[in-house]
C-alpha cells in the first residue's frame, strides 16, 4: 500500500538516518478479539506514518481525538510495540528492544502529560515525585539527586525550593503542577520531550507561561520536542514543523508558518476554519464545517480517508486510490489527490 509513498524520500524531514528520532513506516494496530479470543480485525490507530525529528527541533502533531496521535506518542515513548515499521531513537531501534533495555529506552524520553493533576501521584510529595525517576534509573548518590532537583526546580521556576519539596500535588495550582510534571520529565536530562497537550487543561492566563517555559527549556537544552495538540493556535509559538494527522495517517507536513498561512489539505483547511481568534465578528458567521465524523479505524474508507467528508472530493479518484504524498512547495507535503499534476485540480 505504500509504494506510492516512495517518492517522498527526497524530503529530508521524512527520512534521515542521522536524525535523533526516526519514525519509519510505523504501524500501530490493536487486535480486536471476539469473546476474549478469536480474531475480529484490527484498530489501525497508526497506519504508515513516517517522519524524523532532529536534535534541538520541535515538531507539532495536530489532530482530533481518535486520529492516532496518542498511539503514535505512546509508541515513541516505548509504551506500545510497533506492529510494523520501527521507531529509532538515539540509535536504538524500538522493535529490537526488550526488557531491561526497553526500560532504559523509555527513561531517555521525557513525557509531559495533559492533565497535570492526574499525572502526579496524589500520595507523593514533590520531592518523592522528582526522585522517583532517578531512583528507578539508578542514581544512588543522594547529593547528586538533590543537585539535580535543585537545578531543575530553579529552571522551571518553582521556588523557593524548600517550600515546594514537601508539598503534595493538590496543594499546588494547575500551573505549578504542570511545572512539576515538566521538572520530572526533565530530571533524567532527556534528549527528547514528548508533550501531550501540555496546556489544554490550564487556564488561559498560565498557558502562555508554560508554553514559553517549554520553549525556553527546549532551546537551552537543545532538546527535540514532539508537541501533540488539537489546538492550532498554540502551535505558532512553539514548533518548527507541523504535521496534521487524520484517521491514523499524516495528511499534511510542512514548516509551521507554511502550514498555518498556506494550508493545502482540505482537512487542514477545515481545522483552521474551525479555530477562532477572539473577535466579535465570529458571532455573525456560520462556519464551514465538514459534515460527519472521523471514520472508524477498524474499517477506514477506501482511498483517501477524508473523502466522505471532503467538499472537494473527486469521484473515481479519492474514493478509490490512496493519495500520494505530494511536495507542493519545498518541504511542504500533502497527501491529497487535488495536488496531483495529472488527476488533481488545486483549490
Amino acid at each position: 500500500m505504500s509504494d506510492v509513498n516512495a517518492e517522498i524520500s527526497a524530503v529530508d524531514h521524512i527520512t534521515n538516518d542521522q536524525a535523533l528520532l526516526q519514525i519509519k513506516d510505523l504501524h500501530v494496530w490493536y487486535e480486536l478479539k471476539r469473546f476474549g479470543f478469536g480474531h475480529a480485525g484490527y484498530v489501525r490507530a497508526v497506519d504508515n506514518v513516517r517522519f524524523v525529528l532532529e536534535q534541538g527541533e520541535a515538531i507539532a502533531c495536530v489532530g482530533e481525538s481518535g486520529c492516532g496521535k496518542s498511539s503514535l506518542m505512546k509508541t515513541i515513548l516505548g509504551l506500545n510495540i510497533p506492529t510494523k515499521g520501527d521507531v529509532i531513537f538515539d540509535n536504538t531501534s524500538l522493535s529490537q528492544t526488550k526488557g531491561e533495555d526497553l526500560r532504559r529506552y523509555r527513561s531517555k524520553i521525557g513525557y509531559i502529560q495533559q492533565d497535570p493533576f492526574g499525572a502526579l501521584p496524589p500520595f507523593m510529595n514533590v520531592q518523592s515525585i522528582l526522585e522517583e525517576p532517578m531512583i528507578i534509573n539508578g542514581i544512588k548518590d543522594k547529593q547528586e539527586r538533590r543537585r539535580r532537583i535543585e537545578k531543575i526546580l530553579e529552571e522551571v521556576k518553582l521556588t523557593p525550593i524548600e517550600q515546594v519539596l514537601p508539598k503534595f500535588p493538590h496543594m499546588l495550582s494547575g500551573g505549578q503542577q504542570q511545572r512539576v510534571v515538566i521538572a520530572r520529565a526533565m530530571i533524567m536530562e532527556p534528549k527528547l520531550l514528548v508533550a501531550d497537550e501540555p496546556v489544554s487543561m490550564l487556564d488561559a492566563s498560565v498557558r502562555v507561561e508554560i508554553l514559553r517555559l517549554l520553549r525556553k527549556l527546549q532551546e537551552e537544552h537543545h532538546l527535540a520536542v514532539l508537541y501533540i495538540t488539537h489546538d492550532l493556535s498554540t502551535v505558532r509559538y512553539f514548533s518548527e514543523y507541523i504535521f496534521v494527522m487524520y484517521a491514523g495517517q499524516i495528511v499534511e507536513f510542512a514548516r509551521m508558518e507554511d502550514l498555518l498561512d498556506n494550508p493545502k489539505h482540505p482537512y487542514t483547511l477545515a481545522l483552521l476554519e474551525a479555530s477562532s481568534d477572539p473577535n466579535a465578528d465570529n458571532a455573525l458567521v456560520q462556519r464551514e464545517i465538514p459534515k460527519g465524523e472521523p471514520p472508524s479505524l477498524v474499517n477506514p474508507p477506501k482511498g483517501c480517508r477524508f473523502h466522505p467528508r471532503c467538499p472537494y472530493m473527486m469521484e473515481g479518484i479519492c474514493d478509490v486510490l490512496e493519495p500520494p504524498n505530494i511536495e507542493v512547495t519545498p518541504k511542504h507535503l500533502v497527501a491529497c489527490w487535488l495536488y496531483d499534476e495529472e488527476k488533481g485540480h488545486a483549490i
Partner: protein
Amino acid sequence: MEQQNELVLKVRNLRLYFNTHSGPVQAVDGVDFDLRKNEATVIIGESGCGKSSLAKAILRLLPRNAGTYDGEVWLHDKNIMKLDDESFRKEIRWKRISMVPQAAMNALNPVLKIGTQVAEPAMVHMNMNEEEATKAAVRMLEHVGVPVDFLHRYSFELSGGMRQRSALAMALVTLPDVVILDEPTSALDVLTQASIMNLMKRMKKELETSFILITHDIATSSELADNVAVMYAGQVVEVSDARRFFTKPLHPYSHALMASVPRLRETIEPEFITGQPPSLLNPPTGCRFKDRCPKRFEKCDEEPPTVLVDGDRKVKCWLYV
C-alpha cells in the same frame, strides 16, 4: 446598539457563599449582569472564579454546604429569588430557565434511550403526556441536528457531538426563556466544537431563547457573545457588549486575559498574567485583582465602585472613576 431587545434576565447583587471547615467561600459575591431576548451573555472567567457557582445560584441548584444566598434575579418583571423552593422548582426550573451542565454529554443516563431522556423534561415540567412530549422531543432533536432514528439509541452509542446536541435538546425542549450553558464545548474536538457553536448561533436566532454561556475559553466565547461579563474571584469586574469588549477591553484583568490568548491568524506574542487569583476564603480587601495588576495605584486598596464607561459599559475599577 440603537434598538435594544427586551430584557429577559436581570441579576443584581447575587451572592452565594459555601460553608467549609475553614470558613465561608465567597464563590459568588455581588454579581450584576443583564440578558436580553435572543441574545447571549458570556460569563468569562478562569477556573475557581465562581462562574459555575453563578449558574447554580441562578438555577438555585445549591449544594448542601451553601451558606449566604441572596440578591435579586429578575426574570422579566418577577424577582424569582422571592419564590419559595417548591414554586421555584415548579414554575422556573427547566420551564423558564434550563441548563446544559458541564460535561453534559457524559452525564446522560446510560440506561435511557435518547428520545425518552429528551422527552422527560417536557413531561415533568410541562405536564405533557408521553405522546406530546415525544413529539416535542422529536421536533427539538431535529432542530439541533440529531437524526430522528437516534431517538431509540442509548447515549453510549452516540458520538460526543451527537450527545452534546442531545443534551442541548434536553435543555431546549421546554422552550425556556433562558438556557445556561456551562462550558458546552470544552471536551469536544475542534470541528465538533465549531459545529456546536454554529448550532447555537442558529438556535439563538430561531428560538425565543436567550443564552448564558459560561466558559474559560475566550476565543470560543466570541463565537456566541452579544454581551460579555468577566468574572474574577467571585465578582464581575466588567460587563460590556461583545464588539467593544473584544476590540478594547476596559478592566486590566480583561485586558491581560485577552492578551494571554494565543492567536492563530496574528503574530502577536501572547502575554501571561503573573501570580495567582486570590483564595475565595479570605479575599483581599479593595480590588481583588490589585496584586496582579500592572496599573495598580493607592486607590486600589479600597473597594472599587462599578462605573459606567462609554455609555453603557460597566467596569469595576478605580482607573475609570
